[in-house]
């Protein structure tokens, strides 16, 4: 029985799907990059507007496939906003190319659709749909710019590995299904097979396989290998998608699954403790390894790839919540952390895009963009353009979890969860990881102030970077938002707290 309420609750997804069709029609009618970009933007904004009322509703089950609640509304907001930013910046980025790239926006919309389905899915089938929509579209995007020297390599790596990972995930789902006879996340009594002597072991293995699929997308150790290469090889807006939309959607669905799964363990069918240990090991490894990997990295995009490994390790702490009472708080923490992480990533990738487009304009590079920005390219950026540099500083500090930024409040949430759960080992790893992380974060910041080498290497006329007003405004907005929520996080925490 489909009610109005249900329609309303999945309205954002419907809007995007409808918009997708509309976009294709538009392409058939007239190929114009500007128009399709505008349409995409409109679609995202409408979807975001449609998303607003969902914040206030209670959790609502839309068929057995989807479950919409305010948490998913919040993550959808994050995804949608990231989509908007990506759309805006893609315009900048693609305009430096010669061809008309309307498929790009289609793929982008597909990614957002996949992600938005993921966050509301409550069933393995819908999860699978969303997951694959996201992955396949991303593969398309990752290898999108054909002229780029890395595009084939990146595309292949992402394709093969993500397909492998999704096969793992599917096998896991099949194992789980074979034991529970139910593809929905929530446990329904009496459905467990008595056939197998060690039902819980198969369940465990199935869960493990399923988790590997997600862990791959979240680039957790030891499934992180693809991250730096794909981050580096993709065009920057796509990397931005990988870093924000994909991560947010994946983590949300993992949380949904995991907290529903608590019901299995409460029924004694699933050995939560072992899995918990497994997760802690993965989390600790990710924190330490991710940060260590980034330590001496000079390529900024690779570095951010490594740092995302660590961040996903940090946020995994939230899954260690055992009692169902604290699930609410765990959700809040996760949402805040994700919000902070998304904002920081968006900011720093924005700078990357603006910087490289500015740079390529200045140096008059032809079609192929050179995205291999290293830290030393940013030497003295602070003296060349304060706004850009300030945004970098803010976002890097946020990633490092230093006060004045949302990242700090996010870390505070995480530590609160960990302290409440008395997860001392994880706290230890988090502190060590942050300590290591500071090293490369500070390296970036110091480079911004470095005056020694940059002045000589860059000729005088393009020493100062002048930004177009729109870019400038955009960057200022990002910085102000980041700073404002960093100092007065109350608005966000209240919003999250009310969910």
């Amino acid at each position: 029985m489909i009610t109005n309420m249900m329609i309303q609750s999945i309205l954002p997804q419907l809007i995007i799907a409808f918009g997708l069709v509309l976009s294709m029609l538009l392409i058939a009618w007239q190929r114009s990059q500007r128009m399709i970009q505008f349409l995409t933007l409109i679609i995202f904004i409408i979807a975001l507007v449609a998303n607003v009322p969902i914040f206030t509703i209670d959790a609502i089950q839309v068929t057995s496939l989807l479950k919409v609640d305010s948490y998913s509304a919040f993550t959808f907001m994050l995804i949608g906003l990231s989509g908007v930013v990506v759309t805006l910046l893609s315009g900048k980025y693609l305009r430096t190319q010669t061809e008309v790239h309307d498929e790009y926006y289609l793929l982008l919309q597909l990614v957002i659709l996949g992600a938005s389905i993921l966050v509301v899915s409550d069933h393995f089938a819908s999860l699978f749909l969303g997951f694959e929509l996201l992955s396949i579209a991303l593969v398309g995007l990752v290898g999108y710019i054909r002229e780029d020297k890395y595009s084939v390599e990146t595309g292949f790596k992402y394709l093969i590995l993500s397909a492998t990972a999704s096969s793992f995930m599917l096998l896991g789902i099949a194992f789980i299904y074979s034991q529970t006879g139910d593809l929905s996340f929530v446990y329904h009594t009496g459905l467990v097979s008595g056939d197998l002597p060690q039902a819980s072991v198969v369940l465990l293995v199935g869960s493990l396989l399923f988790f590997i699929g997600i862990a791959f997308k979240l680039s957790l150790v030891p499934f992180h290998f693809w991250t730096p290469d794909v981050y580096q090889g993709s065009s920057t807006p796509v990397t931005m998608i990988l870093a924000t939309i994909s991560k947010v959607a994946m983590f949300t669905v993992l949380m949904k699954y995991w907290f529903s799964w608590l019901s299995y363990s409460e029924a004694g069918l699933f050995d939560h403790d072992i899995f918990m240990k497994l997760l802690s090991i993965i989390a600790m490894l990710s924190m330490v390894f991710g940060n260590s990997l980034a330590l001496m990295q000079t390529n900024i995009k690779r570095l951010l790839g490594y740092s995302s490994i660590a961040h996903m390790g940090y946020i995994l702490i939230i899954l260690m919540v055992t009692s169902s009472q604290s699930i609410n708080f765990a959700w809040q923490s996760a949402l805040f952390y994700l919000a902070a992480y998304v904002l920081a990533s968006l900011s720093i990738f924005t700078v990357l895009i603006v910087y490289s487009s500015q740079n390529s304009l200045a140096i008059n590079k032809s079609s192929s963009t050179d995205d291999d920005i290293t830290i030393s390219d940013w030497n003295g950026l602070f003296w060349r353009n304060k706004t850009l540099a300030c945004l970098v500083i803010l976002s890097v500090l946020s990633l490092a979890g230093i006060p004045l930024t949302m990242g700090f409040i996010g870390k505070f949430y995480l530590l609160t969860v960990a302290t409440q759960g008395e997860l001392w080992w994880l706290i230890g790893a988090l502190i060590i990881g942050s300590g290591i992380g500071l090293f490369y974060y500070l390296r970036i910041i110091f480079a911004l102030f470095n005056t020694e080498t940059s002045e000589s290497s860059v000729s005088e006329n393009n020493w100062k970077i002048e930004l177009p007003v729109t870019n400038h405004l955009f960057i200022v907005v990002l910085a102000v938002v980041g700073l404002f929520f960093g100092i007065f996080p109350d608005m966000v925490t209240r919003l999250i707290g009310s969910l």
Binding site: A165, F168, L204, F225, P228, I274, S292, L295
Partner: protein, 629 residues
């Protein structure tokens, strides 16, 4: 009277401030006027104060300036009960003992300032020199006037600092710099012991006011009390450092690197006797620890002998005098150890007179010889510098304590007090006699080498014909000769010694005769020095003599036991082992980074395999987990 006492240290302080702020801009006249004038004011004030103290009424004058800090532990109830006054004040306390000290400090100080004004006239940093001298007087006056041990400590460190500054006055010479550092650090070791003593005093008695704590200690502690023992021992440590007694005596000979007036003022007359003053001042505690008094006596005796032997072998005129100072302070310590407080202080005073005279005269000689200090390059000065020689002879006869001189009175009194003292005894008496003998021998050696025989130098003499200079020397000479007649009444300060025992009658005779024996011995033994012809005498280079000349090997011992290990330790650990331990973590992370980076080969098949490996790994974890449950 209080007012005069209050202002006493401020005259030199003001002079110091003027001199230090204007520096080289002051002419010689002005600089001398300020510094010597301030000293004259101090000297006059001291005179008035002493007169007042002895002839009018009070046995004690105190003046309270302001509260420095409060040592109360906040637990006021118990403090009121115990009646402890724990404030540490900037207050002055003048009794007979400090009166002697201020008159010595400001009186002799004045004379030496007068001398120095002439002596240092040519130095380009004249005003800085006089400023330091003035500052020294300030610190010394505070030291002797302090009514509590913390203020005393202030003066104590202050004089140490000035001594440091003045030894290193000619700072461009590395040797002087080293000597200054040595003096400061060695005395600092003693000071630290003293500081611990203060902490202990405060812990046990709850106060640091000298008069009060002496009273409290004597009321609450039995003789032989353990706390008193330790406190006295620690205070002795301070005194030993400042007064250059064993085992912290090594700095004094090197301190002669400073200008001669400095040696006279600081390293002969005043500062080095601060240790004696401290023990005399704290006699109340020492009386409760007779064992420590014995230590004091024995330390004094051994220093006395050691320094005398060392003096015998010196070639530098000032170093002879330095060892002689050390030796004479040994006498004072001996007296203190024997409980003859007043004789110790008396000797302090007479010694200040004649040793200042000796140093200043030596300074005049050195100046005349163009800064030649080597005894073996002097000789025959008696004829060439008759006035100086006469003055020097006066100083020497006081030093060897020929009857009638001031040194005679004080030294005989010390020797006389030893035999029957409960904390000294015949053995120490013999030490003192031996010391007296040695004193006369090295004095004669000094005299013969420098003043008799043929002159062993070529240069013409540079004669400073200054009346002021002569005047100060002559006043000192008069004081040295007749200072023994000054009688001081210490009854209000020290307990009256009970000399119930009757000493054997031959003791006095022996004591009086000893110097003559020494002189006679020298007359023959050093005859070559006395009547040498030309330059055929040189310093002996036998190993024993060199051993004595080097202060009996203490420097060498400390060099190897303390300084070298400390420097080696510092050098070894220059890079800070804790830092390296911590930075080792950084290295470890870097290794991890490199290992992990190597795993990022960019090879797709390896990445896929890694997923498989990860799966296997996690699978193992799960299986182990399941198996273990």
């Amino acid at each position: 009277m209080e007012l005069i006492l209050t202002y006493l240290p401020f005259y030199p302080l003001i002079s110091f401030l003027i001199l230090i702020s204007f520096g080289k801009r002051l002419s010689w006249q002005l600089a001398s006027f300020f510094s010597v004038g301030a000293m004259a004011l101090s000297a006059i004030s001291s005179g008035v104060l002493v007169y007042h103290l002895t002839h009018i009424d009070a046995s004690v004058i105190t003046v309270h300036l302001w509260e420095w800090f409060n040592l109360s532990t906040g637990d006021s109830a118990s403090e009121i009960l115990s009646g402890v006054n724990s404030t540490v004040n900037i207050s002055f306390y003048l009794d007979a003992l400090s009166a002697v000290m201020i008159s010595v400090v400001s009186g002799i100080g004045f004379l030496i300032h007068l001398f120095a004004a002439v002596y240092m006239k040519e130095d380009e940093n004249f005003s800085r020199f006089m400023a330091y001298m003035n500052l020294f007087i300030v610190a010394m006056l505070i030291l002797v006037l302090a009514d509590n041990l913390v203020l005393l400590y202030l003066g104590w460190e202050g004089v140490g600092l000035c001594s440091f500054l003045l030894i290193g006055f000619w700072y461009q010479d590395k040797a002087n710099v080293k000597a200054a550092r040595k003096a400061f650090i060695v005395t600092r070791i003693g000071d630290t012991a003293m500081a611990i003593g203060l902490f202990m005093l405060f812990k046990t008695l709850g106060q640091l006011n000298i008069a009060d704590l002496t009273q409290t200690a004597q009321q609450t502690w039995e003789v032989g009390n353990e706390s008193a023992y330790w406190i006295a021992l620690l205070l002795l440590g301070g005194a030993v450092g400042k007064s250059a007694q064993l085992p912290l005596q090594t700095w004094l000979p090197d301190a002669m690197a400073g200008p001669t007036p400095v040696s006279a003022l600081i390293h002969a007359a005043t500062m080095v006797t601060a240790g004696v003053y401290l023990i005399a001042r704290m006699h109340g505690i020492f009386l409760l620890a007779p064992e420590v008094m014995q230590y004091v006596a024995w330390l004094g005796a051994s220093t006395l002998l050691l320094a005398a032997f060392a003096a015998l072998a010196q070639t530098d005129i000032k170093r002879v005098l330095a060892y002689s100072t050390m030796s004479q302070i040994g006498y004072m310590m001996l007296a203190l150890g024997a409980g003859a407080w007043s004789t110790g202080v008396f000797h302090l005073m007479t010694h200040a007179f004649f040793k200042a005279l000796l140093f200043l005269t030596a300074g005049a000689v050195i100046l005349a010889l163009h800064h030649q200090q080597d005894l073996f390059k002097m000789g025959g000065l008696l004829k060439k510098l008759p006035v100086e020689s006469a003055l020097f002879i006066i100083g020497l006869i006081c030093l060897v304590a020929l009857p009638g001189t001031s040194g005679f009175f004080s030294k005989e009194a010390i020797i006389g007090s030893l035999w029957s003292s409960s904390t000294a005894g015949p053995a120490l008496w013999w030490c003192a006699i031996l010391g007296a003998l040695l004193t006369s021998i090295y004095s004669c050696r000094l005299f013969f080498l420098a003043f008799l025989g043929e002159s062993r130098f070529q240069t013409s003499l540079h004669v400073e014909d200054s009346k002021l200079l002569r005047l100060s020397l002559i006043i000192l000479a008069i004081l040295s000769l007749f200072g023994g007649l000054i009688s001081i009444d210490f009854d209000t300060v020290f307990p009256v010694s009970l000399s119930a025992h009757q000493d054997p009658s031959w003791l006095h005779t022996v004591a009086i005769l000893t110097p003559f024996v020494g002189i006679a011995f020298s007359w023959f033994y050093f005859s070559s020095y006395r009547k040498n012809q030309g330059d055929n005498i040189t310093a002996s280079s036998s190993s024993l003599v060199i051993f004595c000349r080097n202060g009996l090997g203490f420097d060498w011992l400390y060099q190897w036991c303390l300084i070298k290990p400390y420097c080696a330790l510092a050098r070894l650990n220059r890079r800070d082992m804790f830092d390296q331990l911590i930075m080792f973590n950084a290295w470890y992370v870097k290794m991890l980074h490199e290992t992990l980076s190597a795993s990022q080969t960019g090879n797709l098949r390896w990445y896929a395999a890694a997923i498989g490996l990860g799966l296997v790994g996690l699978f193992t974890v799960i299986m182990v987990g399941v198996g273990s449950i």
